[in-house]
Amino acid sequence: MDTSALFDFSPLVQELDKILLGFWATIRLTLTSAVIALVLGTILVAMRVAPTPVLRWAGAAYVNVVRNTPLTLVLILCALGLSDTMQLTFSGDPTTNYFWWAVAGLSVYTATFVCEALRSGINTVSMGQAEAARAIGLTFTQTLRLVVLPQAFRSVISPLGSILIALAKNTTIVIVASYLDAAAQMKQMFDDYGGTIPIFLGFAFGYMVLTLPTGFLFGWLAKRLAVAR
């Protein structure tokens, strides 16, 4: 047994700049996809609660199909299918192109979860709230803006935090879309140095530095802003 595989942390130091670049790619992918997924998810939830059956049906169909497809397949379809096979590209530069296709895949997938979280947030607001708002003469927009949405928003903080963390972890799968992030860097180091425990723990620590504080921040926010019922 080779003890260097157990205790040798030096590869992490030697490749520190590459590792940090990998995590920087992870952060950029996460934040960009998070913003787009939030916008898409909001549009989707607007469709799913719309007074128009056609829109509700289309929103539900999109959510059910995309949410039940593996993210790996979504990203393969984006990068190998739409980009490589069909030559639909965002940019002539391959790195930029694959970055945006990875973001596209992550966003359309994550948006379905954002949509479902927002929808269940709206469902936590009881009918009586809206009825009371109408009874005192608030208009539709006032009911939405002053009564329903503030309560719905507060109850989805924790689920949205969970989705953001899942998204950060899911960015590892962009390896199939030919974009290199921290996970790809770890794979590269496994190939160069062998699959040692220190390298694994180093990257696991890196991901925990991203996910745990995010989790505690959202948990704290959710508690602080909880609706007293």
Binding site: M1, D2, P51, T52, L55, R56, V65, N68, T69, P70, L71, T72, L73, I76, L77, L80, G81, M86, T110, S120, G121, I122, N123, S126, Q129, A130, R134, F140, S155, V156, S158, P159, G161, S162, I165, A166, K169, N170, T172, I173, V176, A183, M186, F190, G194, G195, T196, I197, F200, A204, Y207, T211, L212, T214, G215, F216, F218, G219, W220, A226
Partner: protein, 297 residues
């Protein structure tokens, strides 16, 4: 439409507006459909030659069904192991012994906080390096062990939540009639918690099944690999294949989702359990005010 907190029952003007909105949305949706289909057509993705292989039996018997078997094998083995892992560590987190509680908690939170893919990479490469390249982990076991550790940790949280969802009076009554700790757990808490956590467990199976697709990355012979690498390369029909495979995944997962939904309804009505259904656990730390809104990605 169903009663909805957002909208009042529509009057004549609202109905007119809704009808106009319906027409407009139909037009927009048709336009989007037209764009997608015409783009696919322009790039030759709708050519009969690319779709015709799916009408032949040998495509299904030679590639898709063996791939599906590979996917289901990994999913079933991982599901069984994950449930065992989840029960052990979920109960471990509720142990009266501080050390067991902390160890189980640490393990569960660690595997939930890191991406599944780096875990799979490590399971595949780690043992080889540690043993001085005398042993190697087959791709099947790398996928299964990774899935077990991650989903088992999520299930552990579900088990814990399920046990905690049983009202305190139940265990107090059980202790009062003289049952021992193990009997209280075995005879009173676990049976009721099982009803409460079944929907969440089945929902987690959807996550597990979807994650078997990670096998593509480490070249495990799953549905994705059989359908997209081996088969699609022969016919140059990556996009049609991806669409067909996606449909297969969607159908299986919709069936599992419908099962979870039915179990949840049953659990809500159940008179054999005092506990209501539990939701999937939030990410580490993110559990704020309970909402019932869940995210199982």
């Amino acid at each position: 439409m169903s009663t909805n907190v957002l909208f009042d029952a529509p009057g004549p003007r609202a109905r007119l507006r809704n009808n106009a909105l319906t027409l407009l949305s139909v037009a927009v949706l048709l336009f989007i459909a037209y764009l997608v289909i015409s783009t696919l057509g322009e790039k030759g993705q709708l050519d009969a030659a690319k779709w015709e292989p799916f009408l032949r039996g040998d495509t299904w018997t030679g590639f898709i069904l063996p791939g599906l078997v590979g996917t289901l094998q990994a999913a079933v083995v991982a599901a069984v192991l994950a449930v065992i892992f989840g029960v052990l560590f979920g109960l471990g987190r509720l142990s009266d012994h501080r050390v067991i509680r902390m160890v189980c908690g640490g393990v569960v939170e660690f595997f939930r906080a890191i991406p599944l893919l780096i875990l799979i990479f490590f399971v595949q490469a780690g043992p080889a390096t540690l043993s001085g390249y005398t042993m190697s982990v087959p791709a099947f076991w790398a996928v299964v062990i990774g899935l077990t550790l991650y989903n088992g940790s999520v299930l552990a949280e579900i088990v814990r939540a399920g046990i905690l969802a049983v009202p305190k009076g139940q265990s107090e009554a059980a202790y009062a009639i003289g049952l021992r700790k193990s009997q209280v757990m075995r005879l009173v808490l676990v049976p009721q918690a099982t009803t409460a956590m079944m929907p969440a467990i089945v929902s987690q199976m959807v996550v597990l099944l979807k994650d078997t697709a990670l096998g593509w990355i480490i070249a495990y012979e799953d549905l994705l690999n059989a359908g997209l690498k081996q088969f699609a390369v022969n016919y140059g029909n990556l996009i049609p294949s991806a669409i067909v495979l996606a449909l297969i995944y969607v159908l299986i997962n919709l069936a599992l989702g419908a099962l979870a939904h039915r179990l949840e309804r049953r659990s809500r009505r159940s008179r054999t359990s005092a506990a209501g259904p539990v939701a999937a656990p939030p990410a580490v730390g993110a559990g704020g005010a309970g909402t019932g809104a869940t995210a199982t990605l």
